[in-house]
Amino acid sequence: MMHQSLFVYSGYRYFKLCMVLIITSVIAYAIHTPVDGPNGGTWLGYTLGGLGAAIILLLMWFGMRKRSYKSDMGQVQGWLSAHVYLGVALIIIATLHAGFQIGWNIHTLAYILMFIVIFSGIFGVYAYLRYPALMTKNRRGNTLELMLVEMSELDRECREAAAQLTDEINKCILDCSENTKIGGSVWQQLSGKDSNCATLAAFNKAGELNKLLPKEMAGDASHLMTLLGKKCELVQRARRDVQYKAMMDIWLYFHVPLSFALLAALTAHVVSIFFYW
């Protein structure tokens, strides 16, 4: 299992490294009593700040490393393990660096961006632990592509089944096949729902219309409803599949752009410190 390897990689090597970093930082912070209170400008503040900045650059380099297949700088899996653990350690190291001081300035902006990036990353770890299993279960051996093929097959079957039924029912079926969509906007993908689902609407409406049919058509009508019911279930599963995939992807849309925002803020933070030395 990939996620197990991520955490236990090489005998918890990076977990141990980060625990050492965190414990050392906390102890140093506890025994260090600068005259102007804990802040980024003391020797410990600069040390923790330098360490934090180095960690941020290393974490961002992961994006380069994982794209570079020929690199011999360790396994990507090891990098990922270090990426996760160092990211969590950064919360402690950066907070101690700041000495719990915040304000309306670039320094706190960098701190906040760092937090959003780290927590989006933590959500990413959570998503990669949770959703692949749910996805496999939901797909039942299919792929989204196959589900879509099956949906269009059902559309055809529905049309055939409804051919001799009333025009209203046919219109319903036409709507169903022409307007059903999977996914959609970011929110629709994330929610796994479509409040204007054409298939569900067709299912409900056909159900109503079927009641008005003469008895001799009951067989066709019942067959149609079975097909529509199947499609409803399929549509729901396909949307859930899209939802799981979206959940596994969405954090990256915060994690990556905001990490570049952080890189800019961090640069400004460091330059401003030495500019006004």
Binding site: G37, S152, I182, G183, V186, V256, T267, V271, F275
Partner: protein
């Protein structure tokens, strides 16, 4: 009626095939239902879509309810069929080949609007990945990186180097300077502090003292910067101790290292005779009182510092036994016996730091009255100047002598005899009277100065007997008095902060018999409560700056440092001074 129908099918490689059929009936129904004479299977056609009628040899097509037709692209419910008409029924086009009156109708039908590929359309409608929604991580990364770099890096740096940029963004809600601010300013600095350049005058350079000295010209330096050319002192910047960006109250270094780093071994590093000091609790020299020492020959005071533990004796030239004033029985006062307390004389200054000066008029004269005639207690001599006292006495007794009738057997007759109103006295008599008055004044003065009044408190010495005949008055001198207002001027003791204590906890006045006693306690008295940072846990942690100031070099102002000689020249000066010491 009869109708010839040709079902056309176009081939993908071009060419058309057709299947012909003859349909007949009283009218011809068109629709999806198999009941229709003209059966069109596509589901987009209604069950009963339209009907073609033959009316006296003319052909009409009528839409069934709920359906509609498009005749030559116009929506119609009913129309007569003419040659060449094109009627759309659902996805089919019906073209009229011939509709001559009385002849059979001839039409072609072609499925022109094929149902699209369901799967392809479904895929087109569905957006199944976030990437497909148009959000691009790469694009947003660039956007964020650029915006933040521009606002918080490029803008502040540009504003630093260009006044034009500065002025443009002066009133922006987040100015360049605010964005970089690392903490609140000390309240005294707030009116200019949003202009970073006021203090940070050069990029990538620490704040220089000259920036501080722009305003703080009158602040004293710690020591002569040339004499004490110490790296620890002269390379120390204002900002080493005064930490800005630490809140409205400001933040000044107060730790023992502030002083102790240099003063712990000052004797070996500088050759000074100052004592080493590091921690109030266990490494602080004994208190030395700065006392006035009177040189009787030169008649001047000099100051002298002596260790309090050696019980030094002060010469203030005032006789004041504290014990006599603080007896439990009380002292003789105009209203009877009065028990005195410290506060009767020692009152705190308004600031609460020291004590108001002791003055004769306010603190002594109520009991120590300067009377010269027991019979007339209301008449007193002025305090302070012996000549004035003699004038006062001479005037007083001259007046009595001229009035006559003074009861004194030794006095001449003119003084003793009563005179009638208007009775004149001779020149001779007047001279006698004045001579007597002067002698009397000198006698009373001598008694006052040497025996009865002044000498109670003062050292009085007769320096000349004078000569009555020549008109020379005898002369006395009172040794000048100098009362110390503080014995430990290099430290700052705030009486107000010690109000929970009794005066006698520190000042053992009730047992002091001599005014030479210095009633300032030695260091061990303070150390009962105060200790340095290496203190026992149950004492008040007191660092050097709790009592001592840093900016104490009286002759050296921070503002002068701007004109200080270059460092090399200073070294030469320091070397010269150093030789002088040795």
């Amino acid at each position: 009626m009869q109708c010839k129908v040709s079902f056309l099918t176009r081939k993908s490689r071009g060419g058309v095939t057709h299947i012909d059929e003859i349909v007949s009936g009283s009218s011809i129904r068109v629709g999806r239902s198999t009941e229709n004479e003209l059966y069109l299977s596509d589901f987009r056609v209604s069950l009963h879509h339209a009907t073609i009628h033959d009316r006296q040899g003319r052909y009409y097509i009528e839409a069934e309810s709920g359906s509609d037709l498009r005749v030559n692209n116009a929506i119609a419910q009913s129309t007569r069929l003419n040659k060449g008409d094109k009627i759309a029924v659902g996805p089919y086009d019906i073209e009229v080949i011939s509709a001559e009156e009385g002849q059979d109708l001839d039409i072609t039908i072609e499925l022109v609007r094929q149902l699209g590929d369901d799967l392809e359309q479904l895929k087109q409608r569905s957006t199944t990945t976030l990437a497909a929604t148009g959000f691009s991580r790469r694009r947003w990364s660039w956007v964020f990186y650029t915006i933040i770099s521009l606002l918080f890096l490029v803008l502040p740096i540009s504003a630093f180097f260009s006044d034009a940029v500065r002025d443009v963004f002066k009133d922006a809600p987040i100015t360049a300077d605010v964005a970089w601010k690392s903490g609140e300013f000390e309240s005294a600095h707030t009116f200019f502090a949003n202009d970073c350049k006021a203090c940070h005058q050069e990029a990538f350079t620490t704040v220089r003292d000259t920036a501080c000295a722009t305003c703080h010209t009158e602040t004293h330096t710690h020591a002569d910067p040339q004499f004490f050319e110490l790296s620890g002192l002269n390379e120390t910047r204002c900002a080493t101790c005064h930490k800005e960006h630490n809140g409205r109250d400001g933040l000044v270094r107060r730790d023992e290292g502030l002083c102790g780093d240099c003063h712990k071994d000052l004797d070996t590093t500088t050759g000074t005779d100052l004592t080493n000091v590091q921690d109030f609790g266990n490494n602080h020299p004994d208190f030395k009182a700065t006392m006035f020492r009177f040189d009787a020959r030169a008649k001047t005071f000099s100051t002298n510092r002596e260790a309090l533990k050696d019980k030094p004796v002060e010469t203030s030239n005032l006789k004041f036994p504290h014990d006599k004033h603080l007896t439990v029985e009380g002292v003789d006062a105009p209203g009877g016996s009065r028990v005195m307390v410290c506060a009767d004389c020692h009152q705190a200054e308004p600031g609460g730091i020291g004590m108001k000066p002791i003055v004769m008029k306010d603190h002594c004269s109520e009991c120590h009255r300067l009377e010269f005639e027991a019979d007339i207690p209301d008449r007193i001599v002025p305090h302070g100047n012996l000549e004035h006292i003699l004038y006062t006495l001479t005037e007083y007794y001259g007046n009595l002598a001229l009035k006559g009738g003074y009861d004194d057997l030794d006095a001449p007759a003119v003084v003793r005899n009563r005179r009638r109103p208007g009775q004149r006295i001779t020149k001779r008599e007047r001279k006698d009277a004045f001579l007597w008055a002067k002698q009397k004044a000198f006698d009373v003065g001598e008694d006052l100065f040497e025996d009865r009044v002044c000498s109670t408190c003062h050292d009085v010495t007769k320096v000349s007997d004078g000569n009555l005949r020549d008109g020379d008055a005898p002369k006395w001198e009172i040794a000048p008095v100098r009362l110390a207002d503080t014995w430990l001027p290099k430290a700052r003791f705030v009486h107000n902060k010690h109000q929970t204590m009794q005066c006698t906890d520190c000042h053992d006045a009730a047992k002091s018999e001599e005014s030479g006693d210095v009633l300032i306690p030695a260091i061990d008295n303070c150390q009962q409560c105060h200790a340095g940072t290496e203190a026992a846990h149950n004492k008040i942690e007191s660092t050097c700056v709790d009592c001592h100031g840093f900016h104490i070099a009286e002759d050296f102002l921070l503002g002068d440092r701007k004109g200080m000689p270059a460092r090399k020249a200073m070294s030469a000066t320091a070397e010269r001074m150093d030789k002088n010491i040795k």
